[in-house]
C-alpha cells in the first residue's frame, strides 16, 4: 500500500515538474523526459516487474495529459522498464556512473520507440534526423539529471519496500 502511494506521489510530482519547471529549462530546444528517468531508475533498483509497473503507471498518467492517442507512452515505458530491469540482472558493475549510462541509453531507445510509434499512428510527422536529435538531447539531459535524482529515488524506493519480505 505504501509503495502505491509513493509511486503515485512521485509520478504526480514528476509530471508537475516536467510541465512547469523544466518547460522553461531547455537544452538546445529539448526538454528532459522525467518519466523515462523515473521508470529506468525504478527498474534498476527494483527489477523488471516494478520497472514495468511504474513505467505503465507513469506512462498512462502522462498520456492522459496529452492530446493524442493515449497509451503510446505507457507502452513505451512498460517495455523500457522491463528491458532495463532485465538488463540490470546481467550487469554486475558497481560503477557509480552506471545509472546515468543506463538512463541515457534507456531514454534514447525509449524516445526513438515513442517517435516511431507516434509516426505509425500518424500523430507525429517529422524527419528521422529530427527524431534522433530529440532522442539524443533528452538522453543527455536525463543523464545529467540522474546523479541529482538517483539518491533521492533510491531512498524513496527503499523506504517503501515491504518490511515483511526478507530479501537477499
Amino acid at each position: 500500500m505504501r509503495r502505491f502511494f509513493t509511486l503515485t506521489a512521485v509520478i504526480v510530482i514528476a509530471l508537475l515538474a516536467q510541465t512547469t519547471v523544466f518547460a522553461d529549462v531547455r537544452l538546445l530546444g529539448a526538454r528532459p523526459e522525467l518519466m523515462y528517468l523515473l521508470t529506468i531508475v525504478f527498474a534498476l533498483l527494483e527489477g523488471p516487474s516494478s520497472g514495468a509497473i511504474s513505467g505503465f503507471a507513469g506512462g498512462m498518467a502522462q498520456d492522459f495529459l496529452l492530446n493524442q492517442p493515449k497509451g503510446i507512452t505507457a507502452l513505451t515505458l512498460t517495455l523500457v522498464g522491463y528491458a532495463v530491469g532485465l538488463l540490470r540482472q546481467y550487469i554486475v558493475s558497481p560503477s557509480p556512473i552506471l545509472p546515468a549510462l543506463m538512463v541515457a541509453g534507456g531514454t534514447f531507445g525509449g524516445v526513438l520507440f515513442y517517435g516511431v510509434m507516434s509516426f505509425l499512428l500518424g500523430q507525429f510527422d517529422s524527419t528521422l534526423p529530427y527524431l534522433l536529435r530529440v532522442a539524443a538531447l533528452a538522453a543527455v539531459y536525463n543523464a545529467i539529471l540522474t546523479p541529482l535524482l538517483y539518491p533521492l529515488l533510491r531512498r524513496l524506493a527503499e523506504g517503501s519496500r515491504s518490511q515483511k519480505v526478507v530479501r537477499w
Binding site: A52, L66, Q68, L121, D125
Partner: protein, 285 residues
C-alpha cells in the same frame, strides 16, 4: 520450462501491461475526441491544472534562474550588442522626436481602423503550463469553458499576432495548440503580393509556407497574415483574416516548379509568452 517463477510472473505481467496499452491506444484512436478516454483525459487535465498553476507560481523564479544560466553566453553577447545600439540610437534620438509624434498619430489612426473591422471580443488568459512531450507544442491556459473558451477558438498575442487555437477545453483551463506544432496548418496570405498559401508548423524550426503560386515574387522580411478562409481538408477556417503570423525568413530554392516554399519566422516568441488573448466572437464564423 526451467524459468524461475519470478521471471515467469514478470513476463506475464509485462505481456498484460503491453496488451492493456495496445487496447488503450486502439480504443482511443477509434473513438477520437468524443470517447470516454478523451473525457478521462479532460478530467486529468482539470485535476492537474490547479496544481500546475500553483507550482508554476512558486517555481517561475527558479526556472527563470536556470534558463538564464543556460543562456548566459548569449546574454553577454546581447549586452555588448545592445550597448553599441544604445550609443547609436542616442545620437539619433534628437531627430526622431518629431517623427515619433507623427508615428503616434498614425498608430492611433491604425488602432481606430482596426476597431472598425469585424467586432472581435477577446478574453485575456495566462499560460500556466506547456505541453508534456517533446513532440507537442501546446500551452495550457487558466481560462476554460466556464469563461466561454471553447474548442477551435483562435488565440492571439498582443499586437494582433497569431499564437494558435484551442484544442481542448475543460471547465477552468484549456489547451492551446501553437502554430509551430507539426499538426498545425494555417491559411496565410503574403502582405505584398496578396498571394495565399498554407503555413504549417515544424516544431523548433521556422514555419513553412507551401502551396504558393510559383510566379509570386517573395522577398525575405515580407509579412504573412492569416487569410481567414478554409482550404478544404487541410486548414480549418478558424482564424479571422489579417492576424500577423510572422515574417518571411527565407525563400527555398524551387525543387519542383509547381509551388513555392518559403519559411516564415513566427511573430510571437513562444518561449517568453505569458499572457494571451482568446478570440471569443468572430464575425467570419
Amino acid at each position: 520450462m526451467a524459468l524461475p517463477s519470478r521471471a515467469r510472473s514478470a513476463r506475464v505481467l509485462v505481456v498484460a501491461l503491453v496488451s492493456l496499452s495496445l487496447v488503450t491506444i486502439t480504443v482511443d484512436y477509434r473513438e477520437g475526441e468524443d470517447g470516454p478516454l478523451a473525457g478521462l483525459g479532460r478530467v486529468a487535465i482539470t485535476l492537474i491544472s490547479p496544481l500546475q498553476e500553483a507550482v508554476s507560481k512558486l517555481t517561475d523564479p527558479i526556472g527563470n534562474f536556470f534558463s538564464t544560466m543556460v543562456r548566459l553566453p548569449a546574454i553577454r553577447a546581447e549586452t555588448e550588442r545592445l550597448r553599441d545600439r544604445v550609443a547609436e540610437l542616442e545620437s539619433q534620438l534628437g531627430t526622431t522626436v518629431t517623427n515619433e509624434q507623427r508615428l503616434h498619430e498614425l498608430e492611433e489612426l491604425l488602432a481606430v481602423q482596426e476597431s472598425l473591422g469585424p467586432n472581435v471580443e477577446t478574453l485575456a488568459a495566462q499560460i500556466i503550463a506547456s505541453g508534456v512531450s517533446n513532440f507537442e507544442w501546446t500551452f495550457t491556459i487558466n481560462k476554460g469553458s466556464s469563461d466561454g473558451v471553447l474548442m477551435d477558438m483562435p488565440v492571439v498575442a498582443s499586437g494582433k499576432r497569431l499564437v494558435g487555437h484551442v484544442v481542448q477545453a475543460t471547465t477552468d483551463s484549456a489547451v492551446v495548440q501553437l502554430i509551430v506544432d507539426p499538426d498545425s496548418a494555417v491559411a496565410g496570405r503574403l502582405e505584398t503580393s496578396r498571394q495565399t498559401g498554407l503555413v504549417s508548423g515544424h516544431g523548433d524550426q521556422d514555419l513553412r509556407m507551401g502551396l504558393v503560386d510559383v510566379t509570386t515574387d517573395v522577398e525575405a522580411g515580407e509579412q504573412v497574415v492569416t487569410a481567414g478562409y478554409r482550404i478544404p481538408g487541410v486548414a480549418q477556417g478558424l482564424y479571422p483574416p489579417g492576424i500577423l503570423i510572422g515574417t518571411v525568413s527565407r525563400v527555398l530554392p524551387e525543387e519542383v516548379a509547381l509551388e513555392k516554399f518559403v519559411t516564415v519566422s513566427p511573430a510571437v516568441d513562444f518561449s517568453t509568452l505569458d499572457i494571451v488573448l482568446v478570440v471569443l466572437s468572430n464575425a467570419s464564423r
